[in-house]
Symmetry: C2
Subunit: 263 residues, 2 copies
């Protein structure tokens, strides 16, 4: 089991708990380069990449996740304190304060990726986390959160990634166009997912190294960014639906690539 | 523009507004066989299938969506009343009370579908709506919400379907097994989406009439239901992700079918 700190559990008024709680704000996360990994799956991922600064747990969770927390210093907190640190409706009882783990853009691109994801202006934190999870499952080599995208450390993003945030490099690019050009410079074909694109996804040759470019949930890709792509690719819409949502569209594109690349 | 009712806008205390508001509860929806279509996209869908009982709108929205509401009797309400009727953080200003539009299971199955979706115990309303939207986009002929699934008329389901609830028949089957057997009786091959399945999605022959069976977000398909399927099909997981979420998994499966069926 974990190595709990001595003494009574910390309460919500404790300074360490209060400081950790501030990491729910993006400005504080960015300034301190810290974030919260909430729940056993996220804490497991964080421990696996050695980015954990401190683990908070209730005594119940410290018992329940004794295997996970084996040999780890655990700061015991009470139920109200863990609820304050957790974004979940039903907190799992264990939250880790972690160092940021962004990979530099050059690092992600230089590793000769075969499949890369570049998000531009993805604003919903759950979507960003789901795209990271799906990219991992489809075997992508990295994800770039570009432009005005949410940060990868938003609690909802971390949760929706279900550990995948720790499995593949996630880079930040204030200018998404820079990521597109960097990918092209390394020989990747950049495909813009664009409902108005003239190349049908299932007619596209996806066998080579590919970077998928996904835009905002509501307004898609800015024209000047889409124009940089090598192709604009549309998922065929067969019924009367107008479009797919961002995370399902990304799943269809990324798995089309995964299938072509293994063939 | 719409035909607004005479007089001042109704307030949140008005009896008709209060009665309509009760439709946010499943028990009331089921008893009255009514539901709320919130926002212009949903109202447009509802009008297209002629299931609208009454349209509530703010005077601002009645102007803004004048084309949509052309020739329709509109009951004007104030901002607080529309907020009470809407589940959205930022209400669009127009909400319709609608009759239920479930198709009977026999109707959905008897139409010789080529692609059908059967959900068992899908509990998240947003997931159910996204699956309906994706099924529509992939060209599916119908969706069955089976077992303990959410009802199709949950406000979050209606919203996430972005109009697709009105585009293809959605049936309810208290016993999901009944839907599976009905599909098989009509010559459909039932494929259970199952992470532990031994047939790889991309090795499966998906060219014939197919019904996809999707389980609960957390625990998947009950064993006795999965056992009824003709095959258990797994989406290959390439990275270190453990799985995909329900709506992305459904998108990958349904688009694999759409692709195979058009080839």
């Amino acid at each position: 089991m974990g190595t709990p700190s001595a003494g009574t559990p910390l309460t919500v008024g404790n300074t360490r708990v209060k400081e950790a709680r501030k990491l729910s704000r993006r400005s504080v996360r960015t300034e301190r380069r810290l974030f919260l990994a909430d729940g056993p799956k996220a804490v497991e991922g964080a421990l696996s990449v050695d980015c954990v600064v401190e683990v908070f747990a209730t005594s119940h969770a410290a018992d329940q996740y004794a295997d996970l927390l084996d040999g780890i210093d655990v700061t015991l907190v009470d139920d109200r304190a863990i609820a304050a640190l957790s974004d979940a409706v039903t907190p799992a009882g264990v939250v880790a304060v972690c160092h940021h783990i962004d990979a530099p853009l050059e690092h992600v691109v230089r590793a000769s990726p075969r499949l890369l994801v570049i998000c531009a202006d993805v604003r919903d934190p759950g979507n960003a986390g789901t795209v990271i999870r799906t990219a991992d499952a489809a075997g992508a080599d990295g994800v770039v959160l570009g432009g005005q995208s949410v940060d990868a450390y938003n609690p909802k993003t971390v949760r929706a990634s279900v550990g995948s945030l720790f499995h593949l490099p996630v880079a930040r690019a204030t200018d998404a166009a820079e990521a597109v050009r960097a990918a092209q410079a390394r020989g990747l074909r950049v495909l813009a997912a664009d409902g108005a694109g003239d190349l049908d996804l299932f007619d596209a040759d996806l066998s080579g190294p590919t970077a998928w470019l996904f835009g905002n949930e509501a307004w898609g890709l800015p024209e000047e960014l889409a124009a940089l792509a090598d192709e604009r690719v549309a998922i065929p819409i067969h019924g009367r639906a107008e479009s797919l949502n961002l995370s399902t569209a990304a799943a269809v594109c990324l798995y089309a690539s995964a299938r072509a690349q293994r063939a």
